[in-house]
């Protein structure tokens, strides 16, 4: 059988260990991926220990405690700390999720934290998302409404949507663009340069389903491509990982169906 190993400079080495200075009632160990782009060293795993009695309940609370009190060089993205900004996506205990929504108590032993898989690492837990954002821009994630109706053109009235049409956006608008799904998709791992990935396709579905948008057909045509869309083989990793409980695989299937029936 073929043997695959990581390139020499990507092999993860053992890093520093920061032990608790005082005895704790409820200690928790965290093993965190570290990589500094400014030295020539390999990535390493640093081990930290915190007292859960003196810390908030979520993994993000632990990361902030470590940054504030133990090691200010630990680098990660965060903002809202309540699962609405999508910044703190990372791989925790083997699953891509939002650190601020993941409770420490869900992880039995040591908490292992890595950056989102298969992305270039900027530093520590910060992945480079520029390609993914580029792909998002490519599906034109904004309302397009072309009209020949003179009255509508000259009117400044809002474009209304019935509650029933609004319902068609449920399961789509809630996406926080954390890319947990995209970076858990094996198809994206292999073809990320061409395949759009579940997060971006879910956004495509969101705009395709908007009753106020006039470009449904054009949007479907634009993604009707063996690489952009059909690299999805319904592996469903995306749905399993989504921290917002969405189902990108189902939305992708919906896009495929619309293409077959409408184009």
């Amino acid at each position: 059988m073929a043997q695959f190993t990581l390139p020499a400079n990507s092999k993860i080495t053992k890093g520093k260990t920061h032990q608790l200075k005082e005895p704790a009632n409820d200690p928790k160990k965290l093993a965190i991926y570290r990589w500094d782009p400014e030295d020539d060293k390999n990535p390493r795993i640093d081990n930290y220990e915190i007292d859960q009695e003196k810390c908030g309940p979520m993994v993000l609370d632990a990361l902030m405690k470590i940054k504030n009190e133990i090691d200010p060089t630990l680098t990660f993205r965060r903002s809202c700390r309540e699962g609405v900004c999508g910044s703190c996506a990372m791989n925790i205990d083997g699953v891509n999720t939002l650190a601020c929504l993941k409770s420490m108590s869900e992880v039995k032993n040591e908490i292992k934290i890595y950056p989102l898989p298969h992305m270039r690492v900027v530093k520590d837990l910060v992945p480079d998302l520029s390609k993914a954002y580029e792909q998002l821009a490519s599906i034109k994630p904004w309302l397009q409404r072309k009209t020949t109706n003179e009255e509508e053109k000259n009117s400044r009235d809002e474009k209304k949507q019935s509650p029933k049409d609004r319902e068609k956006l449920d399961g789509k608008w809630e996406c926080v663009l954390c890319f947990c799904c995209t970076t858990s998709c094996p198809s994206y791992w292999w073809n990320g340069d061409e395949y759009l990935g579940p997060a971006v396709l879910l956004q495509a579905a969101r705009w395709v389903s908007d009753s106020r948008d006039s470009e449904r057909k054009e949007r479907l045509k634009a993604i009707n491509d063996s690489l952009k869309l059909y690299r999805c083989h319904s592996i469903m990793n995306c749905t399993r990982s989504c921290p917002k409980g969405l189902n990108p695989a189902k939305e992708i299937a919906g896009l495929k169906k619309a293409i077959v029936t409408e184009l």
Binding site: P37, E38, K67, D71, P72, T73, T75, V122, K123
Partner: protein
């Protein structure tokens, strides 16, 4: 700083509480000289960014504390328990605050525009909010 602002300068406030906040703030302010940034890198240095954010928030907190102390009325989310009523005679103004290089705050005010910019809609005269 965060604790001072949350405990001494939250929505419900009094002269004494805010004054105590200012006192505590000055202690924190004098410790700003001891700031040390452990992360020396030039790429995605969140340690440095947070220090810069703190620097900015310190100035914001100081003018907020002084503005809250200065405004002896209640209005919206500024609920002075020692001045429970809204006072349009004296306080229908924007608070202005200047923070100089030495860290001294001076207060002023500017009138509120009472008219709309076009005559499409008529201005609504200010009145007490009652629910």
């Amino acid at each position: 700083m965060q604790h001072i602002m949350q405990q001494k300068c939250a929505v419900f406030r009094t002269h004494d509480l805010i004054s105590k906040g200012i006192e505590e703030y000055l202690k924190v302010e004098s410790s700003m000289d001891d700031i040390d940034i452990k992360d020396k890198s030039l790429i995605f240095n969140t340690d440095l960014v947070e220090a810069l954010e703190l620097h900015n928030l310190m100035a914001q907190s100081k003018v907020t504390l002084h503005s809250a102390l200065n405004r002896t009325e209640s209005r919206g989310a500024h609920a002075r328990e020692d001045y429970k009523e809204r006072d349009d005679n004296n306080w229908l103004v924007h608070s202005l605050a200047w923070l100089n290089d030495k860290g001294d705050v001076s207060m002023g005010s500017r009138g509120v525009h009472m008219n709309t910019l076009t005559n499409h809609v008529q201005p609504i005269p200010p009145k007490r909010r009652v629910y």
